[in-house]
Symmetry: C2
């Protein structure tokens, strides 16, 4: 007996890791980073209509598993993400992620996708979007301190979105710097490998910190930071993990995604609970000033927020159409008669009765 | 350039709707219902060690999308489920569901599966497990009031787990009764189609209510329920939706999965906030009595709880091994060097640079 194929409604497009990499090359990484920044900007402009549920975290002794849901009333998205620092010593990734987008009107999922690459891309796009509003006019050079997995994405996003010319790489591990310099060669950026954090900062209008240091670190100390720079602090992103000396925060105007979360996870955890911050969406919508003058130090205290993942899911949903870069998954039961789920099951028997 | 295939670690087994139906036939539906009841019983015995996070619900005017996570410290599971009553008028299902199981130690997903069929099966297995502890000794006949999608699963689970002989079907729609009677023919049960709820109850030691009535309904009124029966109330499962006259609740000893949830969603929403209930896990572990005498009315006020989905996910993970009834999904990026995600992306370029 031949069974009918599942109806279209029952099929959810799935973007695998392989398809995501192909999508990046199909769109072009610069256009993808710009597109992601545009989608995030669109969503930050309508910030207030989002359902901003807190993350739902399940902690264990060795790590955490989190679900990060949000909705704009039309689409619903969530990201599954784990964080297990000990994984690397066992040949596994510290962080893996996948995400889902659904239609609020029907409740049906419309996209399932890997999100390890997508998160790397949206994190970089978010940094570049913040720099567009906060970096000094005509910023040309960026110090990139910490040359791990995020460093190339950060560098290319700054090039794609604000026209960065030069990236100045530094890492305590020269091998990481060599890897990043190799990966960034012939990508339209002047690449300078530096032997110290101080050297990387010379002539840079933007300083990005993205290290894997676990404890409260001092990647930047107060005397390293001159007036007029924009600091893009990526690596301080969970309780107990910060990268900047607190004196720098006291001299900076601090911009954040979602204060409730940043005060727990960001550089901001070093400050008093009422330390003043500006929400970036208010800068983007014109309700709050961004950079006011050339001597001001601006600090984007980035921790990553669910709305950015939502924007990224929307982008992928829109861009996979017509590409074939997905598999349709038979994930939703679609019986002809909703009351007859059992009949559907019996008709699928190897020897139907 | 040929890229290496994703490593095993990056692959998550996915059980589609089609594979789930094949798994049911491979295992055998009676064995599957018994197996699910066993897994739920095992998990209810270790109830206290579960992380019982509340559901995370996203409501809209037309429906709800929920994530239901839980963990036993070794595995972590969640179910995505929507509820959209208006969907049926548009040729879509009211409820669709899928679920995921992950390894707490690594944070890596280990199973993604459809859960529309699996939820139908686990709901029936849960009812049968409750009846095992609460129904009168030697119960042979069950009234099945409401002959929709859940009715056949309920009937077969009672047969598989407690040895039910006869099911007495009634629905306000005779077509639904005819469908269920047809589906249950030659399944090892004596099937009696009844023309009234009263007729269905004659001689039944168990009364299962599972209707789609949306408002506070009176599927059972007080004078219909004699002493000594076990009531298995499935359909009262969300705020504003109940099936039993409150007088019945006052005469019954009420057993629930998780009181905090049942008081909001179950028949119990008709009672005072401190109305006494017994948690079923305490009956199963021997800490609280179940049925005490032959004249007592026991009521299982079923709403469905995350731990039951977790048990079902564990069952599927264990049973698909060696069957081939799943597809490996390339869902997790697994670069050779975790610091070199960008290099992995570049090596996937159509014309690697």
């Amino acid at each position: 007996m031949t069974l009918p194929a599942p109806s279209d409604k029952a099929l959810v497009p799935f973007v695998s890791v392989d398809h995501m990499m192909k999508l990046v090359h199909h769109v072009g990484i610069d256009d993808m980073l710009r597109g992601l920044a545009d989608y995030i900007e669109t969503d930050f402009r309508r910030w207030e209509l989002f359902d901003k549920t807190p993350r739902v975290a399940s902690h264990s002794e060795v790590g955490v598993i989190e679900l990060m849901p949000t909705s704009d009333g039309e689409a619903y998205g969530f990201k599954y993400v784990n964080g297990h620092p000990k994984n690397t010593s066992e040949g596994l990734q510290t962080v893996t992620a996948f995400g889902l987008l659904a239609d609020v009107y029907t409740g049906y999922p419309v996209l399932l996708t890997e999100m390890t690459f997508l998160t790397a891309l949206r994190t970089a796009a978010m940094s570049a979007l913040a720099a567009k509003y906060l970096a000094p006019e005509g910023a040309e050079a960026m110090a990139m301190i910490g040359n791990g997995a995020q460093s190339e994405f950060q560098s290319l996003a700054m090039k794609a979105v604000i026209g960065l010319d030069e990236v100045r790489l530094y890492d305590t591990d020269p091998g990481a710097t060599a890897k990043a310099a190799h990966n960034l060669s012939n990508k339209g950026l002047r690449v300078v490998a530096c032997r110290s954090a101080e050297e990387s900062i010379e002539g840079a209008q933007i300083i990005t910190t993205c290290t894997a240091d676990k404890q409260n670190a001092r990647i930047l100390t107060d005397n390293m930071v001159g007036s007029g720079v924009h600091i893009n602090a990526i690596g301080g992103d969970c309780p107990g993990k910060t990268e900047l000396a607190p004196d720098i925060l006291l001299r900076s105007d601090i911009f954040v995604e979602y204060p409730e979360q940043t005060r727990i996870e960001g550089e901001l955890q070093q400050m008093a609970p009422d330390h003043p911050v500006t929400e970036l969406w208010q800068v983007i919508t014109g309700r709050a000033p961004g950079r006011r003058d050339a001597r001001q130090i601006t600090l984007f205290d980035s921790v990553g927020f669910a709305i950015e993942d939502f924007s990224a899911l929307r982008f992928v949903r829109d861009r996979i159409a017509g590409t074939g870069l997905f598999q349709p998954l038979d994930m939703l039961a679609d019986p002809d008669d909703p009351r007859d789920l059992f009949g559907m099951l019996m008709r699928a028997a190897p020897h139907p009765v």
